[in-house]
């Protein structure tokens, strides 16, 4: 409907009523006067209070002479718009198409007699969730704010973290029905231009009807769709977005989703938590090691248990083996079947725990703990060491600070278990080899998935296996180029300056 706006108010109204027929939430407000006005907006989307306020300001008695003059005189919409601009953000619309879009995006349209323009007043005022602490990424000492469903709020939160004109935010509209605003945020001169261009290109190419969450975009822009490992990172925290922007990455914010997407992304982000950077570095490093051991352990522990007990019992110390043997006595299943069964049950319990309605939570935990933990062992169906192994694995797999990364490790546990059940430790070695080959083949927006370990870039290792102190992380990650290499000046180590404080 690219029809131009007619000069006749009646004609315009008819057209709009036709377009929005059977939409009970559309509001037409006619203001009679020397010159007739028509206000069109969606009920509940526009801020009615602010609108009334605005009307009062323009048409009210204080301004009556002024407005009367305006109404008589002003044949052009520009005059009115200038008048309005002091109260609200306004734009001029030339076509009916713009008008319809304006109405749908929560704005108020002001049409008047004898004008072929419409004024779009930005009076958005729909109900939305406030800023809350993100429940999935909790920190002890970090900021407590998380993204909301409103992209404007989200961009403002990022902007507040980086008060620099270098922070660019490009807006795009994706979705033929949903018309969702997608914002690409990056730091000009710092972010890799090739990555920014690639993100722009891939998002522009998306043809989709509705965009209801981050994953709608993610699945279109990721490099390798058939892998278990996510190549786009998501986060609910503006501080994480800001820190990644400073590390040359690109963020994608999507209206309606409290999760920002960050590209490129490497495997090592699975081991990094926001709190690593808010705690002192030695503790953060130790905790990171703990996390690595447990996450990798969650992948291998059940398989190693199965492989060692069924293929290589000679690897265990005699007393340990005897305890396991006596516990396994009378268990009807082979160890690998037992492990698969228990892991399957555990995943089931976990899924139930996430999806169940809140009030039934205690029922699930009681049944889960009793059935899996106790009754199965007492009935001799499952051995106690297996329960221990599965519960350690369960806890370990929950430790990952990035949920979507943890999912990959959770799923890989099962193929690993099957390999170990078939070939023992040899099978585990082979499966890890396949996994490594796969991981080295992956890349995310031109960045190898295992970098900076493979290919090795020594400067970037400071935030991978350890969390180096802030003053030591003085180069820009993902650089590879000599230009712009330094992030902060060198030699800021406390104590370097001498004993002035004495």
């Amino acid at each position: 409907m690219t029809a131009p706006i007619s000069e006749s108010l009646e004609e315009n109204e008819e057209l709009l009523r036709g377009t929005f027929r059977n939409c009970y939430d559309i509001v037409f407000r006619r203001i009679q006067g020397p010159k007739n006005f028509l206000l069109v907006y969606m009920d509940g989307l526009a801020d009615a209070k602010a609108l009334d306020n605005m009307l009062l300001q323009i048409l009210g008695p204080a301004n009556s002479s002024n407005s009367g003059e305006l109404m008589e005189h002003g044949s052009s919409g520009e005059m009115l718009e200038q008048q309005l601009a002091s109260f609200v953000k306004t734009t001029l619309a030339e076509t009916m198409d713009d008008v319809v879009h304006g109405i749908l995006s929560a704005q108020v349209i002001i049409l008047s007699d004898y004008t072929n323009h419409a004024i779009i007043a930005d009076l958005k005022g729909f109900e939305q969730r406030g800023i809350e602490e993100p429940s999935n990424e909790i920190t002890i000492r970090g900021p407590r704010e998380g993204f909301t469903e409103n992209v404007n709020v989200n961009t403002s939160m990022v902007r507040r973290k980086i008060m620099s004109a270098k922070l660019k935010m490009e807006s795009m509209t994706v979705g033929s029905l949903s018309k969702t605003t997608v914002v690409i945020a990056y730091l000009e001169g710092i972010a890799k231009e090739s990555v920014v261009e690639e993100v722009r290109k891939r998002i522009r190419q998306i043809q989709i009807d509705t965009v209801l969450g981050g994953n709608f975009i993610e699945e279109f822009i990721e490099d390798h769709p058939f892998t278990l490992f996510p190549q786009v990172q998501n986060t609910e925290r503006p501080d994480i977005v800001a820190s990644y922007l400073a590390e040359r990455k690109v963020a994608v914010l999507i209206d309606g989703s409290p999760f920002a997407l960050i590209v490129p992304c490497t495997l090592w982000s699975a081991f990094q938590s926001a709190d690593d950077y808010y705690e002192r570095f030695i503790y953060a490093t130790l905790i990171r090691w703990l996390r690595m051991v447990l996450i990798i352990g969650s992948l291998f522990l059940p398989s190693i248990y199965v492989a060692i007990t069924t293929f290589h019992p000679e690897l265990l110390p005699a007393n340990f083996l005897l305890s396991i043997t006596s516990a396994r006595e009378g268990v009807p299943f082979p160890a690998v079947i037992e492990a698969l069964l228990m892991e399957f049950l555990f995943e089931g319990l976990r899924e139930a725990g996430i999806r169940m309605p809140r009030p039934t939570g205690s029922a699930i935990s009681i049944v889960g703990a009793l059935v899996i933990g106790q009754a199965a062992v007492e009935a001799g169906i499952v051995s106690a060491p297996m329960v221990i192994v599965v519960s350690i694995t369960g806890i370990a797999s929950l430790i990952t600070p990035r949920y979507s990364m943890g999912v990959a490790f959770r799923m890989l546990r099962f193929p690993m278990l099957i390999f170990s059940g078939m070939f023992g430790l040899y099978g585990i070695t082979m499966a890890s080899l396949f996994l490594h080959i796969h991981l080295t083949n992956l890349e995310s927006f031109g960045v190898p998935y295992l970098s900076p370990i493979s290919p090795l870039s020594r400067q970037d290792l400071k935030d991978v296996l350890i969390r180096a102190p802030r003053w030591s992380m003085n180069t820009i990650p993902l650089s590879g180029s000599k230009r712009n290499k330094w992030r902060i000046p060198k030699g800021q180590r406390p104590g370097d300056q001498g004993d002035e404080i004495l």
Binding site: T310, I324, S326, R328, A335, G421, F423
Partner: protein, 389 residues
């Protein structure tokens, strides 16, 4: 893409075919034997026995009745036949990976154990960290049957005893093989014997060392102290207590040694004449003093130290002489000393080492350093006036 998807299962299939990795045996299909024995019967056949674990009796203690192990035997003309007879009685696969003890009866040891060793080295399931014990004055089966009250599985006991008294465990099989394959040396094995303890049942005791000749036949024993001296010369000991009579002080002094060193110097004094100078060093502390000497004075301590060194030197020399003249088997590592210090001469000597070894002239100097005497400075049971300062 289609290509790659198809190649993946193919790869996995190759994996299956190219290895022999189908040896999956569940724990409940394995019978673990923690100890075994071989004896020579009077009719010349072998009797093997194994101490198998009963897993269901391991946990929960003795409450559910009975020992957590049982003994199964087999008899045959060869070892394999004997083991096969054992297998006929077992519902599970024998898994030897945790077998740390192997008892050999004295008659078997005297007959020679070379057949046994061949079987050991061929079996991949056999553990290399294995202790082979000679049962002095008894059959291997007797040692298997001993019920040891401290340990749930009695076969753990000899290993732990050996470790607790300062010896090196789990290497006797390996040492035996190494000694028998190197030129000149003779192999040894640790020895246990079965004694009547104070309690009604018999118990197992660490005795010392058994010496074998080149035909893997038992020639004799070293008792516990002699064996310890030998271990000291080989520097494989971590704890030793010595107690010597000091007639001039009128009592005994006991010393615990916890650091050991040994230097052997060899000299060739003529054709086929070798002289060995052995210097045993060590440091320790006084653990017992029944004399009237106050050891806090340096003079007295030096006196005790000198006396202990002299006495111990004599004992070590006696042990070496016994090995040289009586057993005529080099179990003291002299061959290696010669090989290292006189490689040229050794080439000539190694062919006739068995005749050279008994004639070696040996001098022993024990050089023990008593580092401290403890906080109890003088014997408390004597009056102040009786103490010799």
């Amino acid at each position: 893409m289609r290509h790659r998807l198809a190649s993946f299962p193919c790869l996995i299939f190759c994996l299956v075919l190219t290895t022999g990795c189908w040896d999956r045996v569940e724990l409940s299909d394995r019978a673990f034997d923690l100890a075994a024995s071989t004896d020579l019967m009077e009719d010349g056949s072998y009797l093997t026995g194994g101490q198998f674990i009963i897993p269901s009796r391991i946990s929960g203690g003795a409450a559910n009745g009975g020992q957590p192990y049982f003994i199964e035997t087999g008899n045959g003309k060869s070892l394999l036949e004997a083991i096969q007879k054992t297998r006929q009685k077992l519902s599970r696969n024998i898994t030897r990976s945790h077998r740390r003890n192997y008892y050999i009866g004295e008659s078997m040891a005297k007959h020679g154990i070379n057949e046994l060793l061949d079987g050991f080295s061929r079996d991949p399931g056999n553990r290399i960290r294995l202790d082979i014990w000679v049962v002095k004055g008894g059959q291997g089966m007797d040692a298997l049957k001993v019920h040891y009250p401290l340990e749930k599985i009695p076969s753990v006991a000899p290993v732990k005893i050996h470790r607790a008294i300062g010896g090196t465990t789990a290497t006797s099989y390996l040492d035996f093989m190494m000694a028998s394959s190197s030129e000149g040396s003779s192999p040894t094995l640790p020895v246990v014997d079965i004694v009547q303890g104070d309690s009604p049942q018999k118990t197992i005791r660490f005795y010392g060392r058994a010496i074998f000749n080149h035909d893997y036949k038992l020639v004799g024993y070293l008792n516990f102290v002699e064996g310890a001296y030998r271990q000291w010369m080989l520097q494989r000991i971590s704890y030793l207590d010595l107690a010597e009579e000091l007639p001039e002080a009128g009592g005994k002094v006991g010393v615990i040694v916890n650091q050991f060193g040994c230097k052997i110097k060899s000299r060739i004094t003529g054709t086929n004449k070798v002289k060995m100078e052995i210097e045993l060093t060590g440091s320790g502390y006084v653990a017992e003093n029944n004399t009237k000497l106050n050891l806090i004075s340096n003079k007295n301590l030096k006196l005790v130290q000198k006396e202990i060194n002299k006495k111990t030197s004599e004992h070590v020399l006696a042990m070496i002489t016994k090995v040289q003249k009586e057993y005529r088997a080099d179990v003291l590592g002299f061959n290696q000393v010669m090989n290292r210090q006189h490689p040229g001469e050794w080439k000539r000597l190694k062919g006739q080492w068995d005749t050279v070894f008994p004639e070696i002239e040996v001098a022993v100097h024990v050089n023990l350093n008593l580092k401290y005497v403890g906080l109890v400075r003088q014997p408390l049971q004597y009056k102040e006036s009786e103490i010799i300062k």
